[in-house]
Symmetry: C2
Subunit: 210 residues, 2 copies
């Protein structure tokens, strides 16, 4: 199978971690988002949303959306679980992941930044926009974890929540967010980055890193 | 259990459909988004994201994020299924739902519109922004269904994909999108709206409708 991605796409990064955690081998095809590679006509045939990631399996079929790919990996390769526990706990993990995947990442990504500039919004305001979205979103995420225990987002092993958190914290730093008070999130990140499947998925470890 | 929502929130609407399809009874608490009810301090204790929906169960525990709530309902009340079929088909259904829930709805919702206005973007440009996000997103959704059969998004019964589609089409019309060429989406909407669980979940059927 082939994972279509980009080294700094936080959504593709989630899937790289999931593949690594589950020990599933994949080829990687990289599409340079800042050069518009995701809008090339050949890629639009793979993913009509012109976004990464997309997972192309051996019969040519394609699955889009990072969380749908992770859920498929979870169903086909259940061990180790990304959604451990009983149904309520699984719901909490998904809710945390979606708080990032729906309400932070798409509202501050490259496409939105480009559209803001087209409306005459200044570079400084675009950076402020991204910082606002991420800061507010991550503070809510910290509160979502308030009643649980670590070191990971939901206990003693990484879950789908951590897969979404680690890349989003990287983006938060790019935009100058204040993170020092988000103790639970930072502790989870530290625990994740000590694990080889997370370290190997980092942007600077990808062949297309600049 | 109590579903915290708002009649015109497309995310809360998805959960209303899911509850109706599965025959699960819930009380409804409404928070007026245009009057800032979702930012009231009492509600922030329920959902730190200050968004609807949130599902409060009888022990006081809360689950946020519409798709996490739907997945929890699917696991606890599997019949009729929102994610029928084998793992790949379930992945395709989730990907379609996420294409709306991540890449359309949060990028055009009330919060983003308010932030655009705060940057000096005109009302006409805000409407144009929402139209752009929804139009481009739904055209990709139409293509995601190109290789399947209807009348619903994925076959002969409604799924999680249809739960997301129907509210988003309602929003598309509010913002003046061109929909007539999206034949598969419109056929799925027609099939859904003929079903009582969808009809009863519509905004104009809610007690807080204006």
């Amino acid at each position: 199978m082939i994972l279509h991605g980009y080294y700094r796409s936080t959504a593709a990064w989630r899937v790289r971690i999931a593949l690594n955690l589950k020990g599933v081998a994949a080829e990687h095809a990289f599409h340079h988002l800042r050069h518009g590679g995701q809008r090339a006509s050949a890629y639009a045939l793979i993913n009509p949303q012109c976004l990464v990631p997309a997972l192309e399996v051996d019969n040519g079929a394609v699955l889009t959306q990072s969380l749908a790919i992770c859920e498929w990996l979870e169903e086909t390769h259940p061990d180790p679980p990304l959604l451990p526990g009983e149904t309520w706990q699984r719901g909490r993990i998904r809710a945390f992941a979606l708080a990032i995947a729906c309400d932070i990442h798409p509202v501050q990504n490259l496409k939105v930044q480009e559209r803001l500039r087209a409306l005459g919004v200044t570079d400084a305001e675009v950076t402020g926009w991204a910082r606002w979205v991420i800061q507010e979103g991550l503070e809510a995420c910290e509160t979502l974890l308030a009643d649980g225990s670590g070191p990971f987002c939901f206990g003693t092993a990484p879950t789908l929540a951590d897969l979404c958190l680690v890349p989003q914290l990287y983006n938060a730093r790019r935009f100058g967010c204040e993170l020092s008070h988000l103790a639970r999130l930072l502790a989870a990140e530290t625990a994740c980055n000590a694990l080889a499947p997370f370290a190997a998925a980092a942007p600077d470890r990808q062949p297309d890193a600049e």
